[in-house]
């Protein structure tokens, strides 16, 4: 009798996502769902989704959700977690959200060491609004607002969020991962599960940045977008564990 070795996580709804072909959000949603299943967290989970393509996670993961104002997810999650400390609380934010309008909220939630988990999806562009330059857009990368490529003279330099948060004492865990190859997906899964475990054990703020492709707004095929992520993004945004607490699986 054949055994099912891979299928939809129980905590994910059986629906089609609105994401474009080859968008990595679908993979990252599934990793979140798998981690919620494995740690049996779904019944007590409250997710916080702010603004961007990522907000629709509330349609796809079958747990309670709150929608926050643009960038404010870590502040809302702080309130939820402090009012209901027995719940599992995570935010799911894009780079146009977390690294731009939400910069203050993420830094102060991290500095306070709030016992929440943040999944930060970095695709180096504003996806939902049509491909404008984000704080994470690479120098030289073209977007609708930098059609000839971002220049440091005119647009400054991209923000490396993990490196910035790693200067703070508050976070218990900071990792950057990617999902453009099967090996990276498996590593990303471990990091997300570990971040969830940090919160369950009350260790404080845990943060996972996931490098993600936006083939539509990058103007590439999904497979070329994976190569671009490997060759252009990872050299500037190295995938590594910045901080891991001792004893967490």
């Amino acid at each position: 009798m054949a055994k099912i070795v891979f299928t939809r996580p129980k905590s994910m709804k059986d629906v089609v996502t609105h994401y474009c072909p080859g968008c990595h959000h679908g993979i990252i949603h599934r990793l979140v769902g798998e981690a919620l299943d494995e740690l049996e967290l779904a019944p007590k989970t409250i997710g916080v989704a702010p603004v961007g393509c990522s907000v629709f996670i509330y349609d796809y993961i079958d747990t309670d959700f709150i929608q926050a104002s643009h960038g404010r997810a870590p502040a809302v999650a702080t309130g939820v977690k402090r009012a209901l400390p027995d719940k599992f609380v995570f935010t799911y934010q894009g780079d146009g959200d977390l690294a731009a309008i939400g910069t203050a909220e993420i830094i102060h939630a991290a500095a306070r060491g709030e016992n929440i988990t943040v999944i930060f999806v970095n695709n180096a562009i504003y996806g939902m609004t049509g491909g404008q330059s984000a704080p994470t857009t690479l120098v030289g990368q073209s977007s609708t607002t930098t059609p000839k490529g971002r220049t440091s003279q005119n647009d400054g330099f991209p923000i490396q969020v993990c490196e910035m948060l790693n200067t703070l004492q508050g976070p218990s865990m900071i990792s950057r991962v990617a999902v453009h190859t099967p090996a990276q997906v498996i590593r990303a899964k471990k990091a997300i599960r570990r971040a969830f475990q940090c919160q369950v054990e009350g260790r404080g703020f845990s943060f996972v940045e996931v490098l993600s492709a936006c083939p539509t707004n990058w103007g590439m095929t999904p497979l070329d977008a994976g190569k671009w992520l490997e060759n252009e993004m990872i050299p500037y945004y190295p995938v590594k564990d910045f901080r891991i607490p001792e004893g967490v699986q």
Partner: protein
């Protein structure tokens, strides 16, 4: 016998699974369109599937279930 079952009408034809398959048996079917209007991913040689599920791990749309 291992097999990967594709829920074809959910496929968006991104092709991430085709690059993930170590045996090279997952391809986009250029001969037809699914109900969403994409060329769906299919398995060409079912006998060669080893059930590794790497295609399913790369699929952003949960199209693939793997049995072994």
């Amino acid at each position: 016998m291992a097999r990967a079952i594709f829920q074809e009408d959910r496929c968006k034809g991104c092709g991430l699974c085709t690059a993930a398959c170590p045996t090279g048996i997952v391809v986009l079917d250029a001969s037809r369109l699914n109900s969403k209007g994409f060329q769906p991913a299919i398995v060409t040689d079912k006998e060669k599937c080893n059930g590794c599920a790497l295609c399913a791990r790369m699929c952003p749309d949960l199209v693939i279930q793997v049995e072994r």
